[in-house]
């Protein structure tokens, strides 16, 4: 398959997905919304954590902050402008705090990122309680079909961004940081600057996702918007995908979201247990993630054929 064919194919898929907004049932659109949401989130996570190896366990901080900025703007500016502003504000915020935060490495960074999300959550909580606004309903949100399209756009943008970065000089720099940051610095990779840009890029889209998400849930509450389970879910999906390229999160998210949808609807009593067992099974039998497993087994079968 040559490149232009591939491009046409991708465009066709996107157009088909978009046209579903007018055709599919509400329930199916809801599933699509969740799917795109996590694709956007996981791709953004890959930009920072997949490529640089700085594993963030607090990615919900961008999601929640975006939602918060958005809900503060709710009713003051047009909806989609509000979404864009939320992304910008959070992206700029990430640039501001990124430098000191990214000095911390390895498992220290994992927990630091979690702590950062908790810190911001509590600041928002205090601020909201001051105004007696610990729960803000979002009345009159756009219909699901519009939110679905918006989320699709974010998912496409995030995927394209990851795809492009992975193939750019910038991405090569990021990955050299993952392999050995000191060595990278020695040969002249501007590690601090690259990390900072990755951090901001990786916060921009989740913030907009958070903004769109609260139009779906109809409510902003700090505890929900900064729920650590969102961070854990993102990490899980990205790791299961098993790659720092755009295809990894795409596979991981599609697999987990669709599986989860099938499970909760059919085995509401034990679906979480099945899901947990699957996660464990993944580590034991496919520690390289879906992509790792594929490349290993496919290459093996190729060898056998030869």
């Amino acid at each position: 398959m040559n490149n232009s064919l591939r491009l046409i194919g991708t465009a066709a898929v996107i157009v088909i997905l978009a046209s579903l907004s007018g055709l599919a049932s509400e329930y199916m659109l809801g599933i699509g919304f969740t799917l795109f949401m996590y694709i956007a989130l996981a791709q953004s996570w890959i930009i920072l954590s997949g490529m640089t190896g700085y594993i963030s366990l607090g990615h919900v901080v961008f999601f929640g902050s975006g939602a918060y900025v958005f809900v503060l703007l709710w009713g003051l500016v047009p909806v989609w402008l509000g979404v864009a502003i939320s992304g910008l504000v959070v992206g700029i915020g990430a640039l501001m705090i990124g430098y000191p935060v990214l000095r911390v490495r390895g498992p220290y960074f994992v927990i630091l990122s979690f702590g950062l999300a908790e810190l911001v959550k509590n600041l928002v909580l205090i601020n909201e309680a001051r105004m007696y606004m610990s729960l803000r309903p979002v009345f009159g949100a756009p219909p699901l079909a519009q939110l679905y399209i918006a989320m699709l756009v974010l998912a496409v943008v995030a995927t394209a961004l990851t795809y492009w970065i992975r193939r750019s000089r910038f991405g090569a720099g990021l990955r050299s940081i993952r392999e050995d940051e000191w060595a990278a610095e020695t040969i002249g990779v501007p590690a601090s600057r690259l990390k900072l840009i990755a951090f901001a890029l990786s916060g921009l889209i989740p913030a907009m996702v958070g903004a769109i998400f609260i139009m779906r849930s109809g409510i902003f509450q700090p505890g929900d918007a900064f729920n650590p389970i969102v961070s854990f879910t993102i990490v899980t999906m990205a790791i299961i995908g098993g790659s720092d390229d755009a295809a990894g999160p795409l596979l991981g998210v599609a697999f987990l979201v669709i599986l989860q949808e099938l499970l909760w609807a059919n085995w509401p009593e034990i679906y979480m247990i099945i899901l947990g067992v699957l996660l464990i099974g993944f580590v034991l039998f496919a520690p390289g993630g879906i992509l790792g497993w594929c490349s290993k087994n496919l290459s093996r079968s190729k060898k056998n054929a030869a």
Partner: protein, 396 residues
């Protein structure tokens, strides 16, 4: 081969059976989402249990009375919403559009009610809310949602102030959790107290994950207020109960918002709870109510001697009673049910209930006190089963 064929044909026959003509006595399918896992999971059972008790009581009678045209049993379709409002939205969409339930009942908590409001509105499914309390709920467009709770923060503030006044309280210490319901209470309580001339000598708020209250309570003790009002949830209520005794807070009125009405909490503190006032407006012996004793006994029987949560389980059961009576009048036509809910007066374990807009307009906000190990409704006076007494010294 033969065996496989046999199995296959059995499966096909079974599936045909499912598709076959429905019988007249088909159960009424009622759907809801429940917070089985996630942040609010510990609160989930108080709701689910009350639904199950109601289902059993109805089915034991032969089923729901469908507008006077015979009875049909109740069948629940329930999914776990993982305490995630967006998941609740998806579940109600699925219940309505894909599972084709006849009716829906409420999910847990204020945020989930807000989340699903547009869904029930769009599909014109009437829904009697429970376990949701916020003045912001009144901004929900009237139509398909009603809120059963008497515990609206502004009403609570009014009644609290009246109760404190009747007890001659001049000074209070206020502590509250930063979460929505607790802090919203303070929004209304402070002006009400000021208006009544009751002085707030200490005020502090704390995050939901607080681990220790010693410092805060030591300061409260230093102010020696007539009343201590803790707007807390079960976890922080336990902190208060332990550390107020350690520090030696001896105010004659001590209010612990959420906790004392729940069975496990009383099991933890037993006689130490005597004299504590809490948020609840029901007790099995409450007069002028319909079905209180029956509900209480059925609950205890179904859950091995455990008592219902006097706050949440009660409110949930009330919402189910309202739905049951509306169906008895209107049948299963959702538009008629809607009109019935808007116009009827219902007989519930809270007593008579009528809706004005989206809100329960009869039941007043109220308080209960633990007296000799039993929960007595002590406020407002016209509903009280006992009168408020001074909290004595801590038992242990």
């Amino acid at each position: 081969m033969l065996r496989r064929l046999l199995t296959a044909s059995l499966v096909i026959v079974g599936m045909l059976g499912l598709l076959g003509p429905s019988q007249a006595a088909d159960p009424v399918k009622i759907g809801f989402s429940i917070s089985k896992t996630g942040l609010f999971a510990p609160a989930g059972p108080s709701q689910l249990n009350a639904y199950l008790v109601w289902q059993k009581m109805v089915n034991d009678k032969g089923g729901l009375d469908i507008g006077g045209k015979g009875r049909r049993k109740v069948e629940f379709v329930q999914y776990d919403d993982k305490s995630d409002p967006a998941q609740a939205v998806k579940i109600y969409e699925k219940l309505i559009t894909s599972d084709k339930v006849d009716l829906v009942m409420a999910p847990w908590g204020t945020q989930h009610h807000f989340a699903i409001a547009p869904v029930v509105e769009r599909h014109k499914f009437p829904l009697i809310g429970n376990t949701a309390a916020s003045v912001a709920l009144r901004k929900v467009k009237p139509g398909y949602l009603w809120f059963t709770t008497p515990m609206m923060p502004d009403n609570l503030a009014k009644e609290m102030t009246a109760m404190l006044k009747s007890r001659g309280v001049k000074s209070v210490a206020i502590m509250y959790n930063l979460l929505q319901f607790a802090s919203e209470n303070i929004q209304f309580l402070k002006p009400a107290l000021a208006k009544a001339g009751i002085k707030v000598v200490f005020e502090a708020k704390y995050p939901p994950d607080i681990k220790d209250m010693t410092g805060m309570l030591t300061k409260v003790k230093g102010k020696n207020p007539d009343a201590v009002l803790v707007h807390s949830y079960p976890g922080d209520s336990i902190l208060y109960m332990n550390q107020a005794r350690e520090v030696g807070i001896n105010a004659k009125t001590q209010y612990v918002m959420v906790g004392p009405a729940i069975g496990f909490f009383r099991g933890m503190f037993k006689s130490n709870l005597d004299g504590i006032v809490t948020m609840a407006a029901w007790t099995p012996g409450l007069k002028n109510t319909t079905g209180s004793k029956e509900f209480y006994n059925a609950y205890k029987k179904m859950f091995k001697g455990h008592e219902p949560d006097y706050l949440d389980s009660v409110e949930v059961f009330v919402s189910a009673q309202i739905l049951e009576q509306a169906i008895a009048k209107a049948g299963l036509d959702r538009e008629k049910i809607r009109q019935a809910v808007n116009s009827m007066t219902f007989d519930t374990i809270y007593g008579k209930i009528k809706f004005n807009g989206v809100q329960n307009s009869i039941t007043p906000a109220g308080f209960a006190q633990i007296q000799k190990g039993k929960i007595e409704v002590v406020w407002p006076k016209q509903r009280a089963t006992s009168s408020v007494v001074d909290k004595g010294a801590w038992a242990k």
